[in-house]
């Protein structure tokens, strides 16, 4: 009985592929699940769009609903101009969502429970925001830190706060997703371990008392499915909000 709640986050090397700048590049369980997620997303949407029926089947419905859902999110937060980032936002949403959901299958690895992955995605978003913001608006992009209609004497303070809040964005974006996944999976593991612990130490009585953590486990699993979706959505909608800053700087 693997009672260690941390072991599930262990990245296991399958094959070492080589080294880049002294860093070992290996095919790991994390890589396998990333490849699986990408294959799943591309494969499912490919299958969903093969028949291109006017009255959609189940798979096509799901694909179209996801499309409309993300498109509406982008449109409502970043405006119609934001639709140029639709492929990026759609990729982020489906990637994070599928990785989160794959992690919910017992024994599967949760790629998004590693800060390296979530931070890389967050940095990607912020880089897109900064590069597009400057490309599109030039120096006007920095009006983001210079809100109009603020008295000059508190402007330094406001600017400082704005800069800090901007810098904290990638941090909050990555930590939120990573911490939610990590904490959720640890909690599930801990409650699941309780059942085994009770059963091995108390015998039949332990099995009976074990019903309590088992019920908790069921409730938590449902909650974790919600969290898996919600965190993907939160990541997406925050991405849209930040992109909106790049498209329309100046509050």
């Amino acid at each position: 009985m693997a009672a260690d709640p941390i072991a599930q986050f262990q990245i296991k090397k399958i094959v070492t592929l080589g080294h880049i700048g002294g860093h070992e590049i290996a095919l790991t369980n994390s890589a396998v699940f990333m490849i699986a997620a990408v294959s799943l997303i591309l494969g499912l949407i490919y299958l969903a769009t093969t028949s291109r029926r006017l009255v959609p089947g189940r798979l096509q419905s799901v694909a179209e609903l996801t499309y409309e859902f993300v498109a509406n999110t982008v449109r409502s937060t970043a405006g119609t101009d934001g639709m140029r980032f639709f492929p990026l936002v759609f990729s982020l949403f489906t990637f994070v969502l599928v990785l989160n959901l794959l992690g919910m299958i017992p024994g599967f690895f949760t790629v998004t429970s590693h800060i390296a992955v979530t931070a890389a995605l967050a940095v990607l978003v912020i880089l897109v925001v900064i590069i597009y913001g400057i490309y599109k608006n030039g120096l006007k992009f920095f009006k983001l830190f210079w809100p109009s209609g603020v008295p000059l004497f508190i402007m330094p303070l406001i600017t400082l706060i704005e800069v800090l809040s901007f810098l904290s964005r990638p941090l909050s974006l990555s930590v939120r997703l990573f911490a939610n996944m990590l904490a959720g999976h640890i909690t599930l593991k801990v409650f699941a371990s309780f059942i085994g612990l009770l059963a091995t130490s108390l015998g039949v009585a332990g099995w009976l008392i074990g019903i309590l953590p088992f019920g908790m486990l069921i409730a938590l699993t449902a909650l974790e499915f919600l969290v898996a979706f919600l965190q993907a959505y939160v990541f997406t909608i925050l991405t849209c909000l930040y992109l909106n800053d790049a498209i329309h700087p100046g509050h």
Partner: protein
């Protein structure tokens, strides 16, 4: 699969918390970059245009159908208006026709009555004339008879025939 580098049992030394193990970061970023680029390119170049194409096609179809439906409705409304107008025209025409024929009939009846009345009046006048003529004729006969009778009576009484002119004068004064 538990290899030496990553597990906590390596020589009793506790390995760092897995998400903070620096040596796994390079592999994660490497695969993340490949996977995300493949996903992004696959979605943006191929799958999302396909998906949006299907949705746009359906929206076009629905829009087209709605347009056709509204065109048909407009057509049927126009047809109804035309029908009602035709009906009103026909009704007005019928009324006009009825009024005309009524007027014609009334005029004809009037003319006939007038003609009848004229005929009757003519006949009446003719009859009155005839009566007057008959009366005049009768009156002139009366005078002749009266003159003759008066002459005979005077002759019988006096034994002598009176002068014809005197009798005539006497009868005339008596008659008038």
């Amino acid at each position: 699969m538990a290899t030496k580098a990553h597990t906590e049992v390596a020589g009793g030394k506790k390995a760092p918390f897995p998400p903070f193990q620096g040596e796994t970061v390079a592999s994660q970023l490497f695969w993340l970059a490949i996977c995300f680029v493949v996903l992004y390119v696959g979605l943006s170049r191929m799958l999302l245009p396909r998906l949006s194409g299907v949705i746009a096609q359906r929206n076009d179809k629905i829009e087209g159908d709605l347009e056709t439906a509204s065109r048909f409705r407009n057509e049927s409304e126009a047809a109804q208006v035309a029908y009602e107008k035709a009906l009103a025209d026909a009704r007005a025409k019928a009324q006009a026709l009825a009024a005309e024929s009524q007027a014609k009939a009334a005029a004809a009846a009037d003319a006939q009555r007038k003609q009848l009345e004229d005929g009757l009046k003519n006949k009446l006048e003719a009859a009155e004339k005839q009566i007057a003529a008959t009366k005049t004729a009768a009156m002139s006969n009366v005078r002749g008879i009266a003159i003759d009778t008066a002459g005979l009576i005077v002759e019988r009484l006096t034994g002598k025939a009176p002068a014809k002119q005197a009798v005539e004068r006497a009868v005339d004064t008596a008659l008038h």
